[in-house]
């Protein structure tokens, strides 16, 4: 059960890289063989992550590996500092430097005196878990080392914690949540950890009124900010109508104000319409509607909730990543680390609504109804930033698919 036929789950290091590369005003310096960096360019490009003057590699020679010579890393740090003047240089270990045990934190500590940029070391070399672990570390280290402690508050602002460029429709979800917060509370986003942001904004984001934690991996970062900036947080992502309502009420409770009444009434009405879809399922003579969801943990839970609204049980709730990095998780959501188990499960599905990735799509029998909710994409690219899976607009989109699915059943 060791063979990987398709794409393996991205490693912690990959999650760290695509997160850090989203921060303008910083530079990521990889300490490792150059080929890995060049190889990554295509993937990060497809995730909409800009690498121009933001990603560098030192390369490593056999001498560096055998003798533990870090002089090229030292030279590279000085060069980048002088040549690009970033606010922060993230020094990221490679699998090679991790295995030989290069003390990146130590190098950063003594090199800090020689450069103006702040040096932050990420010593994960791809062996500490999958990208979920990497995201947790990226959020945590940014909260710990980059966000300035403060007691000051800027009313009407919030931070989003837990966005990831590696998530399907992440930019659309970001826009939907910003729209929701504006409409519900008249609030504006201050910083987004970690997508399409910049270092200056991150450093100053402790002044936000509240932190909205969209995925469990960002909770340790939120805890740090509670201590350093005394900022309250609300966990969870608004999926589905009922889920969005619940989320808005929880955010409102934390802020001490009610969400916009018109929006609440509209969501309640939409929820009522979704619930009516249960009738269609009950009218079926032969088939019983059922769904399988494969994707990131929060999405799986959120989509299961939305399907429940429409009376479709999510009989398989599968996380695309390990659950180790989450402080707690719903036992209904499983992670299948062995690829073959997932292949067999997908191949065995019949007449289900399957929310998953394009790899799973290739495994499905034609009598299933497939909706893409997860990366990786095998063909094509994400272009739109207005097609969310989160919020009421995401729920509208899913409801259309649910209707189409019910039409396929007898």
């Amino acid at each position: 059960m060791s063979l990987c036929r398709y794409l393996p789950t991205p490693s912690d290091r990959m999650g760290i890289l695509w997160s850090l590369l989203c921060i303008e005003g910083s530079v990521v310096l990889e300490y490792g063989p150059a080929g890995t960096t060049h190889y990554s360019v295509s993937l990060f490009g497809s995730l909409g992550v800009d690498q121009q003057n933001r990603l560098f590699t030192t390369h490593m020679s056999e001498d560096d590996v055998v003798m533990g010579d870090v002089s090229r890393l030292e030279r590279a740090l000085v060069e980048i500092d002088e040549g690009y003047a970033p606010r922060v240089i993230f020094v990221v270990a490679s699998s090679v430097s991790a295995v030989i045990g290069t003390d990146l934190r130590g190098v950063c500590a003594y090199m800090q005196e020689k450069v103006r940029a702040r040096l932050i070391a990420f010593e994960q070399g791809g062996f500490r878990g999958d990208y979920s672990v990497g995201l947790r570390e990226a959020y945590r280290l940014i909260a710990q080392h980059a966000i300035a402690p403060t007691d000051e508050r800027i009313e009407g602002t919030y931070n989003l914690l837990g966005l990831s460029a590696g998530a399907y429709r992440a930019r659309s979800d970001l826009n939907e949540i910003r729209r929701l917060m504006r409409e519900a509370f008249g609030m504006e986003m201050r910083a987004c950890l970690l997508m399409d942001t910049d270092m200056e904004t991150i450093e100053d984001c402790g002044k936000a009124e509240i932190n909205l934690v969209l995925r469990g991996e960002a909770l340790p970062a939120a805890e740090i900010l509670k201590k350093t900036c005394h900022t309250h947080c609300v966990a969870g992502t608004p999926y589905g109508y009922a889920g969005t309502l619940d989320w808005l009420h929880r955010v409102g409770a934390a802020l001490g104000r009610e969400p916009n009444g018109a929006l609440v009434r509209e969501l309640e009405a939409r929820h009522a319409e979704a619930v009516q879809m249960r009738m269609y399922g009950m009218m079926l003579r032969r088939d019983r509607p059922a769904a399988t969801i494969y994707g990131e943990y929060e999405l799986v839970r959120g989509m299961a909730g939305l399907l429940e609204e429409a009376g479709i049980p999510a009989v398989n709730q599968l996380s695309a990543h390990s659950l180790h990095a989450l402080p707690e998780h719903d036992p209904a959501v499983r992670h299948l680390p062995v690829e073959k188990e997932r292949i067999e499960l997908m191949r065995g599905l019949r007449r289900q609504l399957v929310l998953a990735d394009e790899v799973s799509h290739t495994l499905l029998d034609a009598d299933n109804t497939f909706v893409c909710v997860s990366l990786p994409l095998v063909n094509g690219a994400q272009v739109a930033t207005h097609m969310p899976l989160a919020g009421p607009r995401g729920a509208d989109y899913m409801l259309e698919h649910i209707g189409a699915y019910l039409d396929t059943l007898s």
Binding site: Y6, S11, M14, Y39, G126
Partner: protein, 431 residues
């Protein structure tokens, strides 16, 4: 960043005798060179019934699968590139058992005719004996299982991956009776059918046997020693050609993408001598056309300065050609200085002494442009960015389908067109 300061740290060609003497422009590079793991993937994809089993981190295996999905001839998502992703436990306790299990699964599902076990940096550091494992798996399944080592910290770029994959194919070969054919070794890009050389061979009645790695199967490799001669079109195939010469007596001819007509003429002569056939008469006309192109180059390109990046041609032979027609090389980016290049290197040095640096480091090049003000850039760069600095990009990827005198004419056309554009840019008008 100050381009003049960067140049002050660079060596001149006369000061670089081996690649270790050549410095990168900066210690921090982007995007850096390609990985030999990718080179191995480029080679295996052309062997239609062979599998590639990568042993490496999630990241190495992810990127290679990602590459293979979109690469021609690899079979897409369900294709012939699979992997064993190593975790911390495997790094500590070894990965042999895991690889063996994966191999068993692969054999049951894919039924390949040969397997390349491709190791990566981490496997080489932990020192698992994948060669021994390959031998035992080969015996157990009675099929060729070849190990390709692709640790990048021991080499400069992806080409060793291509080279080692092709060289590993030697183990599949078996002695054959000569059938008078010619093997094509080392063509990675382009379609050989489209080349001048292919046409010349066809007209002379010479059948092309094995085409490695651009399109063959395991049986073609097994029968490769039936050829009368190996045509080596890239240095990466030289180790294999030399082994075949030693083991089977098959001579080889290095017929790379040369630019100089004299060099191309020598290749044709050696090739047809090896085939025991007269030199086709039409080659004279082809050579005359190439010589005329050289005359044009001497007229139009004198004094045209350039920075050399990465092209489909032999680095030093091409630079010698350009220097000899009067062009001015200011900086040559290279990843190798081989004994075979010595004569060309000396010929360049007789005319000029350009800076040398390593390839695949685009970011600091921007500052070099401001210091050297070249008219042309040869290689992969952003044309608009170059134009803004008065530099014209010379596009040479179109030579992928070329071998023979056609290369000279193509190159001269590309250089003259770019030189014209550069002059127009400097005069302030559009090219």
């Amino acid at each position: 960043m100050d381009g003049k300061q960067l140049l002050a740290q660079m060596k001149r060609l006369s000061e670089a005798e081996t690649i270790k003497d050549v410095r990168p422009l900066t210690a921090a590079m982007f995007p850096g060179t390609h990985c030999p793991l990718m080179g191995a993937a480029m080679a295996v994809r052309g062997i239609s019934d062979a599998m590639m089993l990568i042993i490496g981190t999630d990241e190495c295996t992810y990127y290679t699968k990602h590459f293979s999905i979109h690469a021609d001839n690899f079979g897409g998502l369900n294709g012939r590139c699979v992997s064993v992703a190593l975790d911390g436990h495997d790094v500590t306790f070894g990965c042999a058992k895991k690889v063996e299990e994966a191999f068993d699964e692969m054999m049951a599902e894919y039924h390949p005719r040969a397997v390349f076990l491709v190791t990566t940096c981490v496997v080489e550091i932990i020192g698992d004996d994948i060669d021994a494992l390959a031998s035992s798996l080969s015996e157990r399944y009675d099929l060729p299982v070849m190990t390709v080592h692709t640790e990048h910290f021991k080499c400069e770029n992806h080409l060793p991956g291509v080279e080692r994959t092709m060289t590993a194919c030697f183990d599949v070969m078996q002695p054959q009776v000569c059938d008078g054919s010619a093997n094509l070794l080392g063509q990675r890009l382009g379609d050989f059918q489209e080349t001048e050389l292919c046409g010349v061979l066809r007209e002379a009645g010479v059948r092309v046997g094995l085409r490695l790695p651009c399109g063959c199967n395991v049986e073609d490799i097994r029968k490769a020693p039936a050829a009368k001669v190996n045509i080596v079109v890239d240095d990466t195939a030289l180790p294999l050609a030399r082994r075949m010469q030693r083991a089977f007596g098959t001579p080889y001819v290095l017929f790379d993408k040369y630019v100089s007509p004299a060099r191309i003429a020598a290749c044709y002569q050696t090739l047809f001598d090896a085939l025991g056939l007269p030199l086709p008469a039409r080659l004279e006309n082809l050579r005359a056309g190439a010589e005329a192109a050289c005359e044009q180059a001497r007229r139009e390109l004198r004094g045209v300065s350039y920075i050399y990046g990465n092209t489909p041609f032999r680095c030093y032979e091409f630079n010698r050609f350009m220097a000899e027609v009067g062009m001015v090389p200011q900086l040559i980016q290279t990843n190798a200085i081989k004994p075979e290049d010595e004569a060309d290197r000396e010929a360049i040095l007789a005319l000029c002494d350009p800076y040398v640096t390593k390839t695949a480091n685009i970011a600091p090049l921007q500052y070099i442009y401001d210091a050297l003000h070249p008219m042309l850039y040869l290689g992969h760069e952003y044309a608009a960015r170059l134009r803004a600095k008065g530099i014209a990009l010379v596009r040479t990827d179109g030579a992928g389908n070329m071998l023979g005198y056609e290369v000279t004419s193509f190159v001269v056309r590309a250089l003259c067109a770019a030189a014209k554009e550069a002059r127009a840019l400097r005069e302030g008008g559009a090219a």
